[in-house]
């Protein structure tokens, strides 16, 4: 499996900017579905995951600046304080860039263990900003890190297959 994965990686299409933008857009739309109650607590942060995927796989193109911009959009959408999502996504992107070699080296089944602490830190940044401004905290908020880390496997496989060249090499 590990060999297969790294072999496939050599034949990946160069990720076009439109593909990256489109994946970010779809992730934001998924975040904006009308989640409620317990589902809201369990909702994985799709935007953070896709951002982290691109930060670890294309660290020289998707960096902290883009994470900041996506965070500002999320702030407007959720009407949270300006900079709350932006700060947590910037920290997440920094973690992704810092660990990108390690994560790329590992098998996709082992990656969630590396991703989980990064997500936890970024969620903690978000929660601490909330705690400093409003003075209250609900712990079920952190359930989202678990579901996000679990979603990492299907999401990275999906993006990986979409980046693979469609043409059959035996066709010629």
């Amino acid at each position: 499996m590990s060999d297969q994965y790294s072999k496939d990686q050599e034949f990946l299409l160069p990720a076009s900017s439109t593909f990256i933008a489109l994946s970010m857009f779809v992730a934001l739309l998924l975040n904006w579905l009308p989640w409620q109650g317990l589902w809201l607590a369990l909702r994985p942060d799709f935007a953070a995951l896709v951002l982290l995927y691109w930060c670890t796989h294309k660290p020289h193109r998707i960096g902290i600046g883009i994470a900041f911009a996506v965070g500002i959009l999320a702030d407007v959408a959720d009407s949270s304080i300006f900079g709350q999502h932006a700060l947590s996504y910037s920290v997440l992107a920094f973690g992704g860039i810092l660990l990108h070699r390690r994560i790329q080296m590992l098998d996709v089944r082992e990656q969630p263990l590396q991703v989980f602490p990064l997500l936890l830190i970024s969620y903690a940044v978000f929660a601490s900003v909330h705690w400093l401004t409003r003075g209250s905290l609900s712990w079920e908020f952190f359930l989202g890190t678990l579901t996000s880390a679990l979603l990492w496997i299907p999401m990275s496989i999906l993006l990986q297959t979409m980046r693979r060249s469609r043409s059959d090499p035996n066709e010629l």
């Binding site: 934001l28 739309l29 998924l30 975040n31 904006w32 579905l33 009308p34 989640w35 409620q36 809201l40 607590a41 909702r43 020289h60 960096g63 902290i64 600046g65 994470a67 900041f68 965070g71 500002i72 959009l73 407007v76 959408a77 959720d78 009407s79 949270s80 304080i81 300006f82 900079g83 709350q84 932006a86 700060l87 910037s90 920290v91 920094f94 860039i97 810092l98 900003v129 909330h130 401004t133 409003r134 209250s136 905290l137 609900s138 079920e140 908020f141």
Partner: protein, 307 residues
């Protein structure tokens, strides 16, 4: 990490650490400005223009099929059901019509009496209907967005209710949408009066969807389970005598000087789709300057004492 960075063939701009510091400082600055001064509302409005239609799109895509199914099954409803329902509605309407007639007579009488006693008139509160566009997805908050904004003269501070009682308050206005903070949002305060005794108090949201709290009520306060709380209207924001909540539980512990009183909101705070925004603020007469200063210092003191 350092050993790989000492030899750099390609210029990639500033290192990730520098970038993180820059953007973290930028977001902290934004946070500070937003919390402290609220100067960023115009930027937020501009950015909201492309974002909010997308959010509504996401909501309609999810709720859409269900609504379509409802419409289809409604279309296929049997004629007998419709006729029965129609009859019921007719009966109800005739009952309401007589009640309304009485109400009009009472209103006329009331205004005449008020004129006789030289009491200022109760203002009429014009209202407009609004529909919930989408819900807030922040787990820490209880907010909804309704589809009327500053284009329809909605202003912050207006009260939002359904047909049974107060649902919330408009806290932020965009051109085509406005944000409504529900009364169950944590620490959201509504000044109320107990209908049975006339006791004034302030009811706070608990952050839980089905609960409100009456804080700082002395143990000896005359409140019973089942008491109805209505808005008092003395704050100048909420119109008077709108239903708010009902007392469901009272704990008078020996350790605390205050009774712990839990209330349930009477309006379907999380069930309605159609809401009413009450326009027309309650206008209070201007306070005389000397008195105003006195009350200002008093309110400061009282704030300190409650904190």
């Amino acid at each position: 990490m350092d050993s790989t960075q000492t030899f750099r063939v390609f210029n990639r701009g500033p290192s990730p650490v520098v970038r993180l510091l820059f953007f973290a400082l930028l977001s902290l600055l934004l946070l500070f400005m937003d919390v402290r001064y609220r100067h960023l509302e115009s930027i937020r409005n501009i950015l909201a223009l492309p974002v909010q239609p997308l959010q509504r799109l996401a909501t309609t895509l999810t709720i859409g099929p269900g609504m379509l199914w409802d419409q289809l099954s409604g279309y296929l409803d049997t004629q007998g059901n419709l006729a029965r329902e129609n009859m019921q509605l007719r009966q109800q309407q005739s009952v309401y019509a007589t009640q309304l007639l009485q109400l009009q007579i009472l209103q006329a009488e009331n205004s005449q009496l008020r004129k006789l006693h030289d009491v200022s008139q109760h203002a009429e509160f014009p209202m407009q209907m609004a529909e919930i566009a989408y819900l807030e997805r922040d787990i820490f908050k209880r907010k909804v967005y309704v589809d009327k904004g500053s284009q329809k003269n909605v202003v912050t501070g207006q009260v939002v209710m359904d047909e049974t009682g107060v649902v919330g308050q408009v806290t932020r206005v965009y051109p085509w949408l406005s944000e409504v903070t529900l009364i169950t949002d944590k620490d959201h305060a509504v000044p109320i009066q107990v209908l049975r005794t006339g006791l004034r108090a302030v009811v706070f949201g608990s952050g839980n969807i089905s609960n409100l709290e009456l804080r700082y009520m002395p143990i000896s306060a005359d409140i019973q389970v089942g008491d109805v709380l209505v808005t008092s209207g003395i704050d100048g924001t909420y119109p008077p005598s709108l239903l708010v909540a009902k007392v469901i539980k009272i704990e008078r512990g020996p350790a605390s000087p205050f009774a712990k009183i839990l209330c349930a909101p009477l309006a379907g705070v999380d069930q309605q789709r159609q809401l009413m925004i009450i326009s027309g603020m309650h206008k209070l007469p201007e306070l005389p300057t000397a008195e105003m200063q006195a009350t200002a210092t008093k309110s400061k003191q009282s704030k300190r004492s409650t904190q």
